[in-house]
């Protein structure tokens, strides 16, 4: 007869960055079963999107993966612009790319910092947030918003890059390169960090594929799948970057993949800044007065690579000014589903790190 206790990790708990609940069946320190309850942050975003004009919906996508808002907007707009056949000027596309990569860096900073918190190191968290703060200042300069930016719109972006923003981005990139290595050293110099991450939370590639896991989790299981490479959107086919993979399949692999992706993001931004052309930042066809009259007909499903994986948006238009149905395929939702498999039989401390390395965002899980 085994003696077990049930431990609630969540809804309000230091280890769940967001609101979801793990009901953990514990045999002393060993995890026997994990039951995930979600829905605490369900805000009906998909249904609300049906009630709005196409152009009004970006703000609801901002609030899905709220730490990676730019990529959410890129995801939604890729679908809408395909549906209503809207051309986007070149400069706007490059600007979107820069912003998407900056947002990816900002989101990773949260993820890596939170991993440090869960391992028990408070210090890197402040350093990562310091860098994130710089990115948010750039966002404020460009859009007026820190986190829920609402920067992009159908046919372009809300505001052109001026010299000050470009200067700020260049300054940030220059400082970030060294700072990133310093932050990574904080983790990897620590023997205990390796001890706790290596060999814990192992995710086999076939299970990952079965569950639809994407993003750094899939790449850390050894499958080099990245939407930016495999089905390029914006101008990702015109820049050079690598898709890192890890063969260890564990938490350390995931951490190192995320870190390498940060370096690649920096590389992409540098190339974008070099190639940024002059020109309009907004398609005049989508001018303010005509914005609400944009009509869409048919089904569209497009994907982008957000910080946690493949973010897909499905939109069905019935020829009206509002979408008939909007659905978001959220990577966090799929990624979170494998946590019970990854942590069965491990210690409770490993479960916490695995949750942190999955990096699921509650707003995206529940939508």
């Amino acid at each position: 007869m085994s003696h077990w206790i049930e431990l609630n990790i969540g809804p309000v708990h230091p280890a769940t960055h967001g609101i979801y609940r793990f009901r953990v069946k514990l045999n002393e320190e060993t995890v026997e079963d994990v039951d995930i309850t979600i829905g605490y942050l369900h805000r009906n975003a998909e249904k609300i999107c049906e009630l709005n004009y196409f152009v009004n919906n970006t703000i609801y996508f901002d609030r899905m993966d709220y730490i990676d808002a730019m990529n959410m907007e890129v995801g939604y707009l890729r679908a809408v612009e395909t549906l209503i056949d809207m051309e986007v000027p070149e400069r706007a596309q490059w600007i979107r790319m820069i912003m998407a990569e900056l947002s990816r860096i900002a989101a990773r900073m949260v993820g890596i910092g939170a991993l440090g918190l869960d391992v028990g190191m408070l210090t890197p968290f402040f350093h990562t947030f310091h860098e994130r703060e710089k990115i948010q200042k750039i966002f404020v300069e460009a859009s007026g918003g820190r986190q829920e930016v609402n920067y992009m719109s159908i046919g372009g972006v809300y505001q052109d890059f001026n010299d000050k923003i470009i200067e700020e981005i260049k300054e940030f990139i220059a400082g970030f390169k060294g700072k990133l290595e310093e932050m990574v050293k904080m983790f990897t110099d620590s023997e205990i960090f390796w001890q706790r991450n290596v060999g814990t939370g192992v995710l086999e590639p076939d299970i990952a594929l079965d569950y639809g896991v994407t993003g750094p989790m899939l790449r850390a299981s050894g499958i080099p799948y990245d939407v930016r490479k495999d089905s390029p959107y914006l101008f990702y086919d015109k820049v050079n970057f690598d898709v890192p993979i890890a063969r260890t399949k564990d938490n350390m692999g995931r951490f190192l993949v995320k870190v390498e992706e940060l370096r690649q993001s920096v590389r992409i931004i540098e190339q974008c800044l070099a190639k940024l052309p002059e020109g309009p930042y907004f398609n005049p066809k989508a001018k303010k007065s005509a914005m609400l009259l944009l009509k869409g007909q048919g089904d569209v499903f497009t994907r982008v690579e957000s910080e946690s994986g493949e973010f897909g948006v499905f939109i069905r238009g019935d020829g009206g000014v509002k979408p008939y149905r909007v659905h978001a395929r959220s990577p966090s939702f799929k990624n979170l589903a494998v946590v019970p498999i990854m942590t069965k039989g491990s210690l409770i401390a490993d479960l916490i790190i695995t949750i942190a390395s999955v990096d699921a965002v509650a707003g995206e899980v529940d939508r």
Partner: protein, 351 residues
């Protein structure tokens, strides 16, 4: 002439028992006030120091340079509502934080503080067995932790208590064995080779510590330091707390000043462990020139150790419980045995 004896002389009109009683009382109060003041300074330094490491500013609002922040925090803790969990064991719940705090503070009285210029020896206790008393008092603290954890009937607290007990058991033995090695080394005078009695008193250990024992047995210093980090339970070994998985471990259900008592116990233990390390391994109140101001020497050594402890605290992640218990039983225990044998051989042959 010790400060205790001076006070005794002032009150000699009360008779022997009365005057010594008052002398002990007054000196204990002096020591405790000193401990409390340095404790406030310590937490202030810790917060500023941690903030610097973390690219923050730290407390700077209350008082000049935020010096009064801790007092403001203490007032806040006192003024807070004490939330009592349902289904608790009332007696155990209420007594646990008091045990932890009192035991920690009590242990300070046993320390050999050394001389301070005109005042003479500051040590309160002149017992022959202060070493044993010290570790006896230190082993009261886990009782408070266990009572606090189990009495609340919370699963987080229960797991935290289990971890705290595992931690205390697996590091108590290496710690005691390395202390035993100290006793063996200090049993003979370094200069003359004559046997010394009173090796179980901290004062006589320090008196005989011409060369710091940390130089004679560095392995013992290492083991004792690690054990003391575990005993004070800060960052790499804060398993009883484990704030990312168990919220706050055995203190989860505590709030207000009762939580503050645990907090005082934690910081007091950091300070006390630094004192013990400098007394047992770094020469205590023995300094390079004259022991006339031995207290200052001890204080400097201790504060450097406290800063090192804080550096460890903020920069090292928490170790997992199984690796931690492995470290205690598979590495530290055999190493401490080796150290013990080495200490014996040292006394016999090298000295």
């Amino acid at each position: 002439m010790s400060i205790l004896f001076r006070i005794h002389q002032w009150f000699s009109f009360l008779g022997n028992i009365g005057s010594y009683g008052i002398a002990y009382l007054i000196e204990s109060i002096i020591v405790l006030i000193f401990v409390a003041l340095s404790f406030i300074a310590l937490i202030y330094i810790f917060r500023k120091y941690m903030a610097r490491i973390q690219r923050r500013i730290g407390p700077n609002r209350v008082g000049k340079f935020g010096l009064l922040q801790l007092i403001a925090d203490a007032l806040k803790l006192v003024g807070k509502e004490s939330i009592l969990p349902e289904g608790r064991d009332d007696m155990a719940y209420k007594i646990a934080p008091v045990i932890v705090m009192i035991a920690t503070i009590l242990a300070f009285i046993l320390l050999p503080f050394g001389d301070l210029a005109y005042f003479g020896s500051l040590a309160v206790t002149h017992s022959k067995v202060t070493l044993i008393l010290m570790f006896g008092i230190l082993s009261i603290i886990p009782i408070g932790e266990i009572l606090g954890g189990i009495s609340t009937k919370s699963n987080y607290a229960l797991l935290g208590t289990m971890r705290a007990v595992a931690k205390d058991i697996s590091f108590e033995i290496p710690m005691m064995i390395s202390v035993l090695a100290i006793v063996i080394v200090s049993s003979r005078s370094y200069a003359t080779g004559a046997a010394i009695t009173g090796g179980l008193s901290l004062s006589s250990i320090v008196a005989n510590e011409v060369i710091p024992y940390g130089i004679i047995e560095p392995l013992g210093l290492l083991i004792f330091f690690i054990s003391m980090v575990a005993r004070a339970s800060y960052s790499p070994f804060d398993l009883g707390e484990s704030d990312s998985e168990l919220i706050s471990g055995y203190t989860t259900e505590y709030s207000g000043m009762r939580f503050g008592f645990f907090y005082i116990g934690l910081f007091g233990m950091v300070y006390l462990s630094s004192f013990l390390i400098s007394v047992l391994y770094l020469g205590g109140s023995n300094g390079p020139y004259d022991n006339y101001v031995g207290f200052i020497y001890l204080f400097i050594k201790t504060d450097i150790l406290v800063l090192i402890s804080f550096l460890i605290w903020v920069s090292i992640p928490r170790i997992r419980i199984d690796k931690f218990v492995n470290l205690g039983w598979k590495y530290l225990l055999p190493l401490s045995m080796v150290n013990l044998v080495y200490a014996g051989l040292f006394v016999l042959y090298i000295r």
